[in-house]
């Protein structure tokens, strides 16, 4: 049997068109988006010029208008990540639209999905998600945001950090413990709609090293009252059922995006490498033969490293596409790709010299952007823990 390590010709063409459009229409706004800490005001108009149809959401099989490829929808999603982010990263924040509604689709009842998921998918709205807290990041057992039943309502108090899109979201899905003694086992997810009294935007967008156009919000929940029906998952008239741990486990589906995060890092590094290669070729006359040979070896070494990233990313995604358990492979892709992508961009800046870090180029922005990709959706360290536990489990039978 012949193996294939590339997308199908159709999907390659799709990715190429997306890349070319991204370079032409997304990249010119990259510097301003970084400076303004937000996408350009006319971003919807920009996206209307996109020559291929792209998905705003990664939930499998929800959008039937998307082009079909023999590779499968999830491979198309990865091609979208690679194509779209090749121009710059700011566009991804528009495309992702948050994950609050995805959480609704995972944990909600059919009625809740009709109410909060379907309209967002159809209308292209933005939703927020609040899980991390100042004292609880990778370890969610430290959650202290509290929800207390009060008659026909839940009263929620606490705070959330690193909430993507929460400031502009139609609603935020926030986790809170309902029984301090049971802790995380009693965690429940609540839909908190914009304008709900007690939902306070503490900081609209954090001051960050990179990905500045991605809205990262701090919210406060101060005696925030929501109806019983806003608790995701079961009969709104019933009390908490202590299935919070299971609810959080259900969120592990979100982790399946990990290979795409690595793909994002890889395509940004590829953009940096391509740009650096072009600039160095323009400067070639200034090199002695032996030095040019060194430069070529450096460029080839980086290209090979990014190919290795892609192999792991696509392997993990391919497994999921074929309904194979890919938890370990997804973690390995996520641990492997982003730190090497970061090194590629750093090395590109070094090869160009001091001007490689100038704001006249985008390399320095991409270097800042990439750092977080080895952190969010699970740090490299957490990914290794996941893989190591799997190794041990298998070794012990």
């Amino acid at each position: 049997m012949t193996l294939a390590f590339e997308f199908s010709p159709e999907l390659q063409r799709y990715e190429r068109e997306l890349k070319e459009w991204s370079v032409a229409r997304i990249r010119p706004h990259a510097r301003q988006a970084d400076t303004d800490h937000r996408p350009p005001a006319n971003y919807r108009e920009i996206f209307e010029t996109c020559p291929v149809k792209i998905s705003k959401h990664v939930a499998k099989g929800r959008d039937n208008d998307l082009p079909k490829f023999p590779d499968g929808e999830l491979m198309r999603v990865m091609a979208q990540y690679e194509g779209l982010n090749y121009g710059d990263t700011w566009a991804q924040s528009y495309v992702s639209g948050g994950i609050g509604h995805v959480v609704v689709s995972l944990l909600g009842t059919p009625e809740q999905i009709d109410r909060w998921y379907e309209p967002v998918v159809r209308g292209g709205g933005v939703t927020g998600f609040g899980l991390s807290e100042p004292g609880a990041g990778s370890d969610t057992s430290g959650l202290v945001t509290r929800a207390v039943r009060d008659g026909d309502s839940w009263v929620i108090n606490g705070s959330k950090i690193f909430c993507s899109h929460a400031a502009s979201a139609e609603y935020v899905v926030a986790f809170a413990v309902t029984d301090p003694e049971k802790g995380i086992a009693s965690a429940e997810a609540f839909v908190i709609e914009r304008g709900t009294p007690g939902l306070v935007i503490l900081k609209e967008n954090e001051d960050k090293l990179g990905l500045r156009a991605w809205e990262t919000t701090q919210i406060g929940l101060e005696d925030c009252v929501v109806p019983l029906g806003n608790r995701l998952g079961h009969d709104p008239s019933a009390g908490a059922n202590g299935a919070g741990g299971a609810r959080l486990s259900a969120l592990s589906v979100l982790n399946q995006n990990r290979p795409n995060v690595s793909a994002l890092s890889t395509t940004v590094a590829q953009a940096a490498l391509d740009l650096t290669g072009e600039l160095l070729h323009e400067q070639r006359l200034g090199f002695r033969a032996d030095r040019w040979s060194l430069i070529q070896r450096e460029l080839e070494g980086m290209a090979a490293a990014l190919t290795r990233n892609r192999h792991l990313n696509r392997y993990a995604q391919w497994m999921r596409q074929h309904d194979l358990q890919n938890r370990v492979e997804a973690s390995m892709a996520k641990a492997f790709g982003p730190p090497t992508s970061e090194r590629v961009v750093r090395r590109c800046m070094q090869l160009l010299g001091p001007e490689g870090t100038s704001t006249e180029l985008l390399l320095e922005k991409w270097y800042r952007d990439l750092k977080i990709l080895d952190i969010f959706e699970g740090t490299g360290q957490i990914q290794r823990v996941i893989v190591a536990k799997d190794f041990a489990k298998k070794a012990r039978g």
């Binding site: 990778s138 690193f162 960050k208 001091p354 490689g356 080895d374 823990v385």
Partner: protein, 371 residues
């Protein structure tokens, strides 16, 4: 005999540097990064300290490369952006002092130590990590004068400066340096205002194109200059940026360690997890090795050893490799918090990246994947 003890004087200098670092330098770091301006008071204190723009000992400057490196590293512990700016801007004094004639020292350094006038801005670095002996900038006899032709990068703080100290090579491949008036015809400075690079915003780094004729007495050391003295002085200057990076990286490692010992996850401080602690230990091993390497080369330069000249490129690149990795790992240990400007880790990460591009010679460093 293996000796690494410091003299009492060196210890005092290092301690003074550390006090400055943890006081005014640290306190100003975020504001300087934001505004791109180092307040006059802080600038004066750095100048008065005498190690970022050093002149001869009898003028109150640093006696040797080892002492200077220790001072600069300790100072950069406060903020590599501020100290990197001072070092990049101050490098010409050392070179003029070491390789200039008596008349030239008077002409270009008088009043510099007390801040009465700025020294010529040093124009050393070029692209692609070229070492001095391969600089593309040439200084060639032409008629009664000398033509300086080439492009220099990362020239710091041109505002208020009237002259450049340009280092290049003569037709025989020997190092030459010349002082060039910025207002001379044939000097084209591409000045960039504001925050124009990933870090060191106060340095306002510029690119300078030169195609200018200078007089023979503008050649550092004159027509018969001692190229060896110049080479040693330039080599010593090249060690300063990695010393700055080292100071910032050590601070980052210590900051991340403190955070890791206080941050609780999964029921214990995250430092208890080997994925965190071993990373930090590895970083410190690399940083210590880099420091000893830097000091070894500096010591060799102080002793006038030719081998030290040849070792500069390698230790510069090894130090930057250690510093860039340590600063990125510091952010990693802080997780999402390290990515926010609430913590200084991102400042140190950016500064280490910029400093690593000044002298990145692919003969001494090559790309290596992270895993």
């Amino acid at each position: 005999m293996f000796v690494l003890s410091s003299s009492t004087e060196d210890q005092l200098i290092a301690e003074t540097a550390r006090r400055l670092a943890l006081g005014p330098v640290d306190q100003a770091a975020r504001e300087v990064d934001r505004t791109g301006v180092i307040a006059e008071g802080l600038w004066r204190r750095l100048r008065d300290f005498g190690f970022t723009a050093p002149v001869a000992e009898h003028l109150g400057g640093t006696p040797n490369a080892v002492t200077q490196l220790r001072a600069v590293e300790n100072l950069a512990y406060g903020d590599p952006g501020i100290v990197g700016t001072a070092v990049l801007a101050g490098g010409s004094t050392l070179i003029i002092d070491a390789a200039g004639t008596g008349e030239q020292r008077n002409r270009w350094l008088a009043g510099v130590a007390d801040g009465a006038r700025p020294a010529p801005a040093p124009a050393l670095y070029e692209r692609h990590g070229l070492p001095p002996e391969e600089y593309g900038t040439t200084i060639t006899a032409e008629g009664d004068g000398w033509r300086v032709r080439g492009t220099k990068y990362a020239v710091a703080l041109l505002d208020g400066v009237t002259e450049l100290l340009v280092v290049g090579v003569d037709p025989r491949g020997g190092l030459r340096a010349a002082v060039v008036g910025l207002d001379r015809e044939g000097v084209d400075t591409k000045r960039v205002s504001g925050t124009s690079h990933i870090a060191l915003s106060a340095a306002r780094l510029s690119r300078v194109h030169l195609d200018v004729l200078v007089a023979a007495d503008d050649l550092l050391g004159g027509v018969d200059a001692d190229a060896r003295s110049l080479a040693f002085a330039v080599a010593r200057t090249r060690l300063l940026a990695p010393a700055v990076a080292l100071g910032g990286a050590n601070r980052a490692r210590e900051y991340a360690t403190k955070y890791a010992t206080e941050r609780i996850a999964f029921g214990r401080p995250i430092f208890d997890f080997q994925g965190i602690s071993f990373t930090l230990v590895d970083d410190q091993m690399r940083l210590d090795a880099a420091r000893l390497g830097l000091l070894s080369v500096a010591n060799g330069l102080d002793q006038g050893r030719e081998k030290a000249l040849a070792d500069v490129g390698r230790i510069v690149n090894e130090t930057h490799a250690a510093a860039t990795e340590a600063t990125r790992n510091a952010i990693q240990v802080l997780g999402g918090h390290g990515f926010l400007t609430d913590h200084p880790t991102e400042l140190w990460y950016r500064a280490a990246a910029l400093l690593s591009t000044l002298d990145a010679d692919p003969y001494f460093a090559s790309f290596a994947p992270a895993v």
